[in-house]
């Protein structure tokens, strides 16, 4: 997604990326980034909270006009929760017992296989 923003921008089209992974987007380097410090999957506001969704989208749009230089990141002032305990859980290998690691490895392999099969089928259909 960050690569798409860069490509559009390099061709004269202003962009803003909305996302929840601050380091990943900033590592690539994009012109404008509205960062929401929320669990991955919520770049446009909190679930079932239309006020937060409108606020978040309006922030992103304002960034289109107001960013003074590329690599401008604005952090959404909304917080996901009062504490940061949720941040411990995402893909945290240190928290997983060996049997859970084995289960996740098998799960990820099967996701990759399914994606590969889907891609092969779609290519065959073209």
């Amino acid at each position: 997604m960050s690569l798409a923003a860069r490509h559009l921008e390099a061709n004269g089209i202003p962009t803003v990326v909305m996302g929840c992974a601050k380091d990943l987007v900033e590592h690539v380097g994009v012109p404008r980034f509205l960062f929401s410090d929320f669990p991955l999957g919520n770049p446009a506001g909190r679930p079932h909270d239309p006020a937060s969704q409108t606020f978040t989208l309006e922030l992103a749009l304002r960034l289109l006009e107001t960013a003074p230089v590329p690599r401008t990141t604005v952090q959404n002032s909304l917080r996901w929760s009062d504490d940061a305990v949720w941040k411990r859980d995402y893909s945290n290998i240190a928290q997983l017992p060996p049997e859970e690691i084995a289960r996740r490895r098998a799960e990820f392999d099967s996701v990759k296989d399914a994606a590969k099969a889907t891609r092969a089928k779609e290519q065959a259909a073209e």
Binding site: L3, L8, V16, H27, G29, P31, A44, I93, V111, R119
Partner: protein
């Protein structure tokens, strides 16, 4: 760890944004995979200033969400990571009607969110409201979906030029991209 008696009123260190690059690298190495994924990284970043006021601009949406596929199994709220729901070509949809787009093909945070509200990753209804309220000029006639491809080569050589072509065709003045 939380230290409620911090004399300076500092937040716990873990309040900082999650360092995903480290987290994901350690995770897949811990699962037993080999060389770590190399994320794209650039020293220079392009910049195109807005040519019109926001209130006069045609705004396009680009998302990594996927259209629902009848044959791909559970793609709804809380569905397990679903490889069959992935897609491999840029697609577009008419912004004057609603769409059923999901994120079961993406490694979002399945512990702390359930993907029950598509407005969180595809804010087309809000964008329409902001157009009606005059915050933006108008919504571009189509939105675009782009694959979450692990191959930088495919993304750069195929998907990015295709997105540019479609955005130009729609005469969009600016683009909001949703990175799920």
């Amino acid at each position: 760890m939380s230290e409620p008696d911090d004399p300076f009123g500092f937040a716990p260190d873990e309040n900082a944004p999650i360092p995903y690059r480290e987290r994901i690298r350690d995770y897949y190495q811990g699962l037993g995979y080999g060389a770590p994924y190399r994320w794209a990284h650039y020293a220079d970043v392009p910049f195109a200033p807005m040519r019109k006021k926001l209130s006069e601009s045609r705004i396009a949406l680009i998302t990594t969400a996927a259209p629902h596929k009848a044959e791909a199994g559970d793609q709804g709220p809380g569905a397990p990571y679903n490889g069959a729901a992935k897609f491999f070509d840029v697609f577009s949809g008419d912004t004057s009607v609603d769409h059923d787009l999901g994120i079961s093909h993406i490694a979002y945070d399945r512990v702390h969110t359930s993907a029950a509200d598509s407005n969180c990753w595809f804010p087309l209804p809000q964008l329409r409201r902001l157009a009606a309220a005059g915050v933006i000029g108008e919504v571009a006639p189509r939105f675009h979906g782009t694959p979450t491809n692990r191959s930088h080569r495919v993304t750069l050589a195929k998907d990015c030029p295709e997105l540019l072509r479609r955005v130009r065709e729609d005469k969009a003045d600016a683009v909001v991209l949703l990175a799920v």
